[in-house]
Amino acid sequence: MTIEASRLPLTAEALEAPPLSIGKMAWLRFRRHKMAMIGAVTLILMFVYAFGGSLIYTEAYANRTETGNRLAAPSREHPFGTDVIGRDILARSIYGGQISLVIGVAAVAVMLLVGVTIGALSGYFGGLVDALLMRFTEAVITIPSLFLLLVMAKFFGGQIADIRLLGRSFSGSVVVIVLIIGFTSWTYLARIVRAEFLSLKEDDFILAARATGTPTWEIIFRHILPNTIAPIVVAATIGVAAAIISEAYVSFLGLGVQPPTATWGNMMSGAYNYIEAAPWLWFFPGLLILLTVLSINFVGDGLRDALDPRSRPM
């Protein structure tokens, strides 16, 4: 660079730091969190694996049984081996990954809808509304969620017909599992959102918003809710991991998503009797669950730091 070029005219505008939006600041902070970045990359790779993999293997292949080739160890033809009825584990882990990830995200969507609504109404209106909603929340908390999950899965399972979505058809039990996980996991979020609302509704800017004639629902959803986005995002991220694990539990016990639709959880359910004889049955789906959940938790950790309004950029 020549001396001439470096002598740019120093205007006030050039000296001023460009305004950083809240999102940009969060990104700058997130990027410095090494584990979170590794987690984010791993997570992206998981999605690429589950959704990109379907370009190589067809679902029909993933569900094709080959009884002559049961419990085959990993080989060139079947890199992850085959399961108890001779299905290719690699292909199944791809299609199972799709379901597991979709269940994670969809269950969190349900959780957000219920948790945020209940938390927001409870915190904003207080009084009787708060008392009723919080007692209800506590009632849900006191039920052991795994037990509830199993009972509901048993009760509702198989009541919904198969669905076609995204060019593939899968067992209706997927929807049941999503709803069950969503409806049992919102309590924690509702309490966080309520606590945030309790303090935020007393802030001056809410008074100012009311003084400009803003209607109540707009105060709740446009003025207060965006202020609670940080804890919600963090809770939602961790929620995805928790939902994937819950699904794995239930499916492992055989009450979750029904075969032939694969999930990482129900792939392991058949592995129970072959823990030593055919470790590849549980190793690969287990590893995928582990990596996904771990990286989601790291991302959640990074988001918590990045979105904390008290921490400064740089």
């Binding site: 305004p19 939006s21 809240i22 802030d203 001056d204 800017f205 008074l207 100012a208 918003a209 009311r210 003084a211 400009t212 004639g213 803003t214 209607p215 109540t216 446009r222 003025h223 965006p226 202020n227 986005i229 309004p309």
Partner: protein, 333 residues
């Protein structure tokens, strides 16, 4: 500057507001009456906790109920009693016809919404203005309240503005719909002195430009002298004196006003002379004493003051006072 025989736009009568707390009922406002005319600037002065803000906020339905309760009174605005309007109707008036600016500009803007959104909110809501037009108007408003480089700062967030600039944004936000009445609740208290002067000057200019009436709540008597047409002095939830600004300074009629003005530091006084203060503290609002609330601190107080609260009486042209005594002579009136 007093608009002679102007039209009264808001008339508050006998307003009484209480808060029910675990410690007991706080009688925050105990029957105040005052009014304001078109284009008039009325200052409301008094110590912290004397009911200045509460009386204003209750007419706009901004106090939390419960624990708050509007015990009695009326606030007639354009023939309708604001205290009896349903929330939905009040929403249409708030920010549109009657706007309010708050004390602390650092906390009265939403930290996660950019100023454009907050500036145009009232316009979009009350006038159904299309976004593009609202944005244009927002830029104009920001220019008018003296925010440099308005166009570029539109998508800035509140934390990117200084305190004085935020109060300007606040003023622009509240004036956006061209209100008939602006209530400024100690808008300069949280700012430093040089910025205070700028904001007062801005308010005076805006008043000239928009011609709205203004309630200016403050405890800074210096500011009052510079901008108000009329002054209402409040003490412990009641109005103790009401007068034109010049009359009040030249000839205060209530012992409290008298003491307040004496307590003002003056540049032309000798440095050695001590600042005068009013002995004692304002009464607890938990109990309503039978007599005049100022009696315990009043140098003129006599038997009657402890037994009976003096009513606010008209004693001259646009002059009212609530005292049994004539301050000049110290004799009962």
């Amino acid at each position: 500057m007093i608009a002679e025989n102007g039209k009264t736009i808001l008339e508050i009568k006998n307003l009484e507001v209480a808060f029910h707390t675990p410690e007991g009922t706080i009688h925050a406002v105990n029957g105040v009456s005052y009014d304001i005319e078109e284009g008039e600037v009325v200052a409301i002065v008094g110590e912290s906790g004397c009911g200045k803000s509460v009386s204003m906020m209750s007419i706009l339905g901004l106090i939390p109920i419960p624990p708050g309760e509007i015990v009695s009174g009326s606030a007639i605005y354009r023939g309708r009693d604001l205290l009896k309007l349903p929330e939905r109707e009040l929403e249409r008036i708030r920010g549109n016809e009657i706007a309010m600016i708050f004390q602390d500009p650092m906390t009265s803007l939403n930290p996660v919404l950019n100023v454009q959104l907050q500036l145009t909110e009232a316009l979009r809501k009350h006038h159904d203005m299309p976004p593009a037009e609202a944005t244009k108007w927002a830029i104009e408003m920001m220019d008018m309240v003296g925010i440099p480089d308005a166009k570029r700062r539109l998508d800035n967030y509140p934390h990117q503005f200084s305190g004085g600039m935020r109060q300007r944004v606040m003023i622009a936000m509240m004036l956006a719909c061209n209100p008939v009445l602006l209530i400024a609740d100690e808008p300069t208290t949280a700012l430093d002195v040089t910025i205070q002067a700028q904001i007062v000057e801005l308010a005076i200019r805006m008043r000239a430009e928009f011609g709205m009436a203004m309630f200016w709540i403050t405890h800074d008597l210096g500011v009052v002298a510079g901008m108000a047409d009329r002054v209402i002095v409040m003490y412990a939830g009641i109005v103790v004196e009401e007068a034109g600004v010049d009359d009040l300074y030249e000839n205060p009629l209530h012992p409290y006003t008298h003491a307040l003005l004496n307590a003002l530091p003056r540049v032309d006084q000798r440095r050695e002379s001590k600042l005068v203060s009013i002995p004692g503290a304002p009464p607890s609002l938990l109990r309503k004493p039978p007599g005049c609330p100022f009696a315990p601190r009043c140098t003129f107080a006599y038997d009657r003051c402890w037994e009976e609260c003096p009513p606010l009486e008209t004693v001259g042209i646009r002059r009212k006072t609530a005292c049994w005594l004539d301050v000049k002579t110290g004799e009962p009136r």
